[in-house]
């Protein structure tokens, strides 16, 4: 059995993909073991109350279980997605006890768990000229797995699904590699400006 490595962003994204596609309880249990104690520590600092902290852990992880299909690996890491779910739940918890009728709801402010959120998918279609110029120079420094994905997408113009099929890896992995690579490229570009 491989060591627990939910710390690794690609692995965490794959676990979410397995929960989404096959309701894998094993994948979820692995994610739970990694994130629940962190959520608990975070929530305990926030609320100073053990029971409320446990409720936040439970509710956050239940959302992860039911809504894993809403995780978009190209938009952020699994950890950040889980953090933003917890942020929303915390926001609503803080208002729930006040019984004020018109309070804003977290879901209306940050639609982390909204079903239709595809419109921003092309966000990372960076300025094409810029990307092409910089790509040749900087892609060399990327880890091989990321470089291949980036070249297939941005040089050969393949879709993420086509890349997943060609490389026989999950779509979630393609998305997270793309995101990590673009993040790295962004840093390189900024540092050389």
């Amino acid at each position: 059995m491989p060591p627990v490595q939910a710390d690794n962003p690609e692995h965490a994204a794959e676990l979410l993909a397995r929960i989404a596609s096959e309701q894998s309880r094993a994948a979820f249990a692995e994610l739970f073991r990694h994130f629940a104690p962190r959520l608990q520590a975070y929530a305990t600092r926030q609320f100073g109350n053990e029971q409320t902290a446990m409720d936040l852990v439970q509710e956050t992880m239940a959302n992860v279980w039911h809504k894993a299909h809403l995780f978009k690996p190209d938009r952020g890491s699994a950890a950040t997605w889980i953090f933003t779910i917890a942020r929303n739940i915390r926001f609503d918890f803080l208002r729930k006890n006040k019984h004020r009728q018109h309070d804003l709801s977290a879901d209306d402010l940050w639609p982390v768990l909204a079903e239709e959120n595809e419109s921003l998918d092309d966000d990372y279609a960076l300025d094409n000229d810029l990307l092409m110029q910089q790509l040749a120079v900087y892609t060399e420094s990327l880890p091989k797995a990321q470089r291949i994905v980036i070249e297939l997408i941005y040089v050969e113009g393949k879709s993420q699904q086509e890349v997943a099929d060609a490389l026989e890896i999950p779509l979630g992995t393609v998305k997270s590699r793309t995101r990590l690579a673009l993040q790295k490229l962004k840093e390189l570009i900024q540092h050389h400006d």
Partner: protein, 221 residues
Amino acid sequence: MIKFHPSEQHLVQYAMGELSPAMLMMVGSHVDMCPTCQMHLRDVEEQLCQKAFGQRQVPLAQLDEEAMLNAIFQSSVKPSAASSAPLETLSLEGKRFKLPATLARNGDRIGPWSKMLGKMWRAPIEIGSGETLNFIYMDQGAQVPEHTHRGFEATLVVNGVFNDESDEYRDGDFVLLDGHHKHTPQTQHEDCLTLATIDAPMHFTSGLSRLLNPFSSLFLK
């Protein structure tokens, strides 16, 4: 091109949910309109996440992993707390304005339009916090008399253009002024829809408009 953005501090507080409701709506609407801040916000969330999850601390309560997993596997999907259908456009005087997503999702909070002084209208947004958050619509050639603020005034241009003595503000621009600024917002040949919050009544500073001060709360707060 958006020229004026919320501060880094605002984005961080927005990402933590620690701005006032009015400012959450303002900053959220700006982010909807601003690719730069969308990108920036993702980085901020990533950093907040690392900070929140990176601090190893001995948990106060021992997690009963088995029981929690079972409870989760047996739970059913909770319906989202989000309000029903978003309000895609806002209408006034026969014109229609496309709303940023944050405002669209909170469309059921938008009250009716009422006419203010001159060529201006406002519609309140009910956010339950006692803060004043309004759409302000300025028709072409409208002017707010020169004023200062005792508190602060935040304005987001949703559509159109207005200017004051120091600059011109267009779609997506986010302007924050405090009590030290004196200004006279106005439109020229275009109309302008803004979202605005102020935390104290305006204080008019020039000529006859000073007579408005006792009544300023009637039309802007």
